[in-house]
Point group: D2
Amino acid sequence: MSTAPNRKLRLGMVGGGFGAYIGGIHRFAARLDNHYELVAGAFDVNADRGHQFAAENYIAADRSYTDYKAMVAGELAREDKIDVVAICTPNHTHFAIAKAFIDAGFHVICEKPMTTTLEDAEALHALAKSSGRFVGVTYTYCGYPMIHAARAMVAAGDLGSIRVIQVEYPLEWMATAIESEGNQQAKWRTDPKLSGRGGSIGDIGTHAYHLAGFVTGLKAEALCADLTTFVPGRSLDDNAHVMIRYEGGARGLLWSSQVAIGCSNGLRLRVFGEKASIQWHQEAPNEITFSPLFGKPETIKRGRDDLGDGATVRTRTPPGHPEGYIEAFANLYSGFAEAMRAINEGRSPSAIGVNVPTSYDGLKGVAFVDAVVDSHEKAPFGWTKPAHA
Amino acid sequence: MSTAPNRKLRLGMVGGGFGAYIGGIHRFAARLDNHYELVAGAFDVNADRGHQFAAENYIAADRSYTDYKAMVAGELAREDKIDVVAICTPNHTHFAIAKAFIDAGFHVICEKPMTTTLEDAEALHALAKSSGRFVGVTYTYCGYPMIHAARAMVAAGDLGSIRVIQVEYPLEWMATAIESEGNQQAKWRTDPKLSGRGGSIGDIGTHAYHLAGFVTGLKAEALCADLTTFVPGRSLDDNAHVMIRYEGGARGLLWSSQVAIGCSNGLRLRVFGEKASIQWHQEAPNEITFSPLFGKPETIKRGRDDLGDGATVRTRTPPGHPEGYIEAFANLYSGFAEAMRAINEGRSPSAIGVNVPTSYDGLKGVAFVDAVVDSHEKAPFGWTKPAHA
Amino acid sequence: MSTAPNRKLRLGMVGGGFGAYIGGIHRFAARLDNHYELVAGAFDVNADRGHQFAAENYIAADRSYTDYKAMVAGELAREDKIDVVAICTPNHTHFAIAKAFIDAGFHVICEKPMTTTLEDAEALHALAKSSGRFVGVTYTYCGYPMIHAARAMVAAGDLGSIRVIQVEYPLEWMATAIESEGNQQAKWRTDPKLSGRGGSIGDIGTHAYHLAGFVTGLKAEALCADLTTFVPGRSLDDNAHVMIRYEGGARGLLWSSQVAIGCSNGLRLRVFGEKASIQWHQEAPNEITFSPLFGKPETIKRGRDDLGDGATVRTRTPPGHPEGYIEAFANLYSGFAEAMRAINEGRSPSAIGVNVPTSYDGLKGVAFVDAVVDSHEKAPFGWTKPAHA
Amino acid sequence: MSTAPNRKLRLGMVGGGFGAYIGGIHRFAARLDNHYELVAGAFDVNADRGHQFAAENYIAADRSYTDYKAMVAGELAREDKIDVVAICTPNHTHFAIAKAFIDAGFHVICEKPMTTTLEDAEALHALAKSSGRFVGVTYTYCGYPMIHAARAMVAAGDLGSIRVIQVEYPLEWMATAIESEGNQQAKWRTDPKLSGRGGSIGDIGTHAYHLAGFVTGLKAEALCADLTTFVPGRSLDDNAHVMIRYEGGARGLLWSSQVAIGCSNGLRLRVFGEKASIQWHQEAPNEITFSPLFGKPETIKRGRDDLGDGATVRTRTPPGHPEGYIEAFANLYSGFAEAMRAINEGRSPSAIGVNVPTSYDGLKGVAFVDAVVDSHEKAPFGWTKPAHA
């Protein structure tokens, strides 16, 4: 029989109040597996709204803070202080907030992209390492159990040496200038000051890049990119085509798009090796197609007991009972919980606490965006190497 | 802005401890939307195991009970008594447990089938009505938002008058005699004393029947069934074919099977009307195919804002972010929470609290199994009318 | 190297002129593999139209006949007489035409249903046997190579003993009363005098029944049917639900419908055995899904070299190059050609000439319709045995 | 009523004898719609084998030639000379053979790539124009009716201005060095002397490029390519990644691969415009998915009567009856027949004879391969413009 730790982790949150999308997802994820209790927050730049949000979420009034600095100070002063903070604010604020909490000794869960500049990303990753604090970065899609199954297959050599990686992340929702029609989610994503140098490539291309690297374990050696802005008036790319050369000779093609009409959340990964291929699609995440050389493509469903520990510990229901995006996010949170408890207790984490995305993944993501934009700006001169592959 | 109630509902649970599958699902569902706090339980017939389970789930020791009678007594004596109990025990015990809690004034959430005999089902439903207590029955699949969207389409006349209803629920996992190899889940499902008269028809056929009725609003007038037991040594049917005549002239075909190799959880519903058809599959639950007469079949994805209140209030994420079985179950729990609060506060429930499955659905399910078995036993004499359609 | 016979077979056709759908399909099928030369015909009840049609199809004027009797006489008188006649006229005329040609010594290819009464079917089958003439009946769907692959899998025991057969053939095109709006195809199909006792069950249900029997090799022992006519003013069923008991204990469910909006030509077969299942869908006919017990469902594509002779000799292109309905029909024609040549030459046919549908299949199809209608008319009294299973 | 021409076209063939794959496809295509009669050929470099092949295909002995030069001479001398020759020989011989037949006044149907050098392609296209002879080049996939439907949608503005074109053509069959194990098809494809500069990009990438241009009507302005040879010992690319910039600002991504395990014939096209998108997949060629902006994706099936003339005249059967690769090829042949007859008769061709692939398409294909290889060889210097876009 498993043994639960003797108390839940105490979670605080910065941002993520009324009207925020991703904050709600973090809370679903924190609750699902019962590892966290949300006890504090600075949920809104508008203090009244923030307090009301706290009250509706069963947060004690004295732990609803007006900003993150007050929260750091307030929590530091408590006996029952939070263990970890989740940062759900716009990208350009991640760095300062994360640094403040780490400096105060807290663990951190940070939305991606981790920062908006490569310098900040390098500094934050260095701080994470030197401080010994856990910094998780929510590359959501590596929370899916079948992604862990895929990674295990590649690692076990089931595909042989990897040849070709096709990854794409097309979306429809920004196919028109909704940022000028009041859509706040689109507004900050199209503002270089809030989002950094990348548009689609930063918002979703980094997810695709992370996923490809996570499953294959390969690092990019060079890339060549073509960025386009289709919607008039937009400052950042809303479509990106990237050719990638991986170490060891594999070749990749990455496409991210915010103008791909008909595509809801079309993250798709296909990996072709010498001996087999796999493919996975985020909208049908409970299965992988595995095709052996000259063989019969097999549908492998989540919930089988032969998919490896990484998948098994991230699975709650048997085959045929669909698990989805919230469960994937919860898997990150449960992995973060285990990773933090292992740090706190000076031990190695169990299976769910390993292979979780951290500040190193955050750093690689920011470096990828930089390389893509550099490559594009150097066109027609071509290939650029990411700083951290 | 929405307003949260001033405290979470206090939930108790009977059954559902170590090794139980469905108990864990109830707890995921109770936590996800933050409407419940699990505070008490009688989790196991083995007291030590039950107490250990309680401890690992952050339940106070004095609220870990050795059986349901002690739990009724213990909770009745408390100021902070539970609001509702979830019954996750084997089918044949549902009636007595539910009756005890209702009699003590508690609301009840009960697994399906609600009881193992029609008499008990009738008695329990009558008690639910006379007591004013809420009795929810977990017909899981009506928790899916696209099922509510489908129901709304039918109700709005988008399909015209309904002609044909094809529903099926095939499973693979009992294709061999796993009940004699130690599988506990299979063991009670194949034991008439624990499960009642129906095998596959009771375990999953009732889900299919409920779903067809839920979406179309039609009642069955007569049915004609052929039950088979394919796995040697098994006492109850593991495959059921049922032809159904609905009021108003619609015709239905229902298939349930526990020996359908290749089918993980293949609940599928197709409804054909005069003007259009819809189809939905539980393993891809985030979409419906809508086909207008002589038109182009459309894929309608969960998360659109034009699917009606029933779907919208059961939706957490935008199109393309898959939600699954746990979210569907959580939708039941959130609907139950609202229904109970409405009763407690003497008001009408909001959208999520209506069209939730109750003891009436539980009663109809038990009556359906009875009619199916009666029809089969009368073969070749044919058509039988369910007592509660 | 293969060796072609020293001349093509000479084909005549009755019916199938301007405006006929199925006649054109017969001609595509006859031409594709170069085994036939269309040299004679009585294409139309309107003589002028028939002659014009003949001229446009490169038929010599002296072999364009005004009716089938003239054609029998004319061809009998020639040195280069036809080898075989294709009968593409309405159902109620099949018997007399087929009998005339067989009596004159010609082989026959006949559309299904072979006749409109069981007596005629029995007589025609008896005549075929006694005459030694070949009578092929175009149960199209057993022309698909993957159906032969499926049959071979069942025969080889890959599925173990068969338990459940689910077959369906839903169509949309007659969902409204198009027969009263001038649609000739719908008109004869809804007229009992031209079509016999079955509506959807005769037109397409027989295809489904044939396919299930073809793949599994099982004979029906009893069936129980519910027929419905949904479109007002229609005389024959446009929806049929049939429960089938096969010899050896297998159970089947058959659904045919002409009012299934959204279904173009939705013939689908699923066969579940003790060890594995297979499924096939006519609209994606180039693959089968094979699911081994507790294993990973496999996609098996047409064109692989390990699918058995029956599939291989019916395959023209490698995997991934879709072949379709016309190729399936051509496979029947090529099989018929081989069967006829084998008869002519007094030898056994090669692979493509065996397992082709003949008058025996035609007889079983007519008997099936009779049993279904009998069962329905006896409702609620139930189960009926087909005369020829 | 339609009127057939007064005789079939007389077809000759060079190459395509025993063991040839594509020759057989040409013959299926020529027969299906009854526009051609195969009457002459030089089928094999081995004269005996060629004559035997001719005999088995009902070709008169005096029209079975030992080589193409004898065939030109022999046919020129006849009254009933061929109208057109189909060239099914290895790529490097296309130019000389085509030139010889054109010079002798014959029409030509030529396999793609039309030639192995850009100079030859330019010369042959110029000759086609100056001679007035028809030169069809078999870009198979524009024979599919749904591709014509897609083209019509784009032309009608249903998609608005085009933004992104994703096209891919992955294959599995050359994932190992089968060319060194006796596979003749693989052998010539991997030999630069027989195939020209392109491996996968020439063999299948050109199909993808043609399809994208055919549907969208856009010309490439520049491209940037990364070619790889994964299988050891192979001289030409077996995987190609190409970023394309189209006139008017659209961006494209093209992937061709001969090492994509699991992909049988995975040609897939997705076109995203300002107002809608379409996607089509060669292995399910009878439908297109059409997604309107923020709308519900629609499945549009071949056989509907609202898809435009281009689709309608290439359609033989109603929706749901799959047509495939052979029918697509036959559509090319029927289009070629009409184009040739229109030339012969000095009139405009009807719908099936327009938008057929000719020497101009052949020229663009060869120029595309040249640009891709040039771009790759210039890496990391980038973008290259095709000579004929």
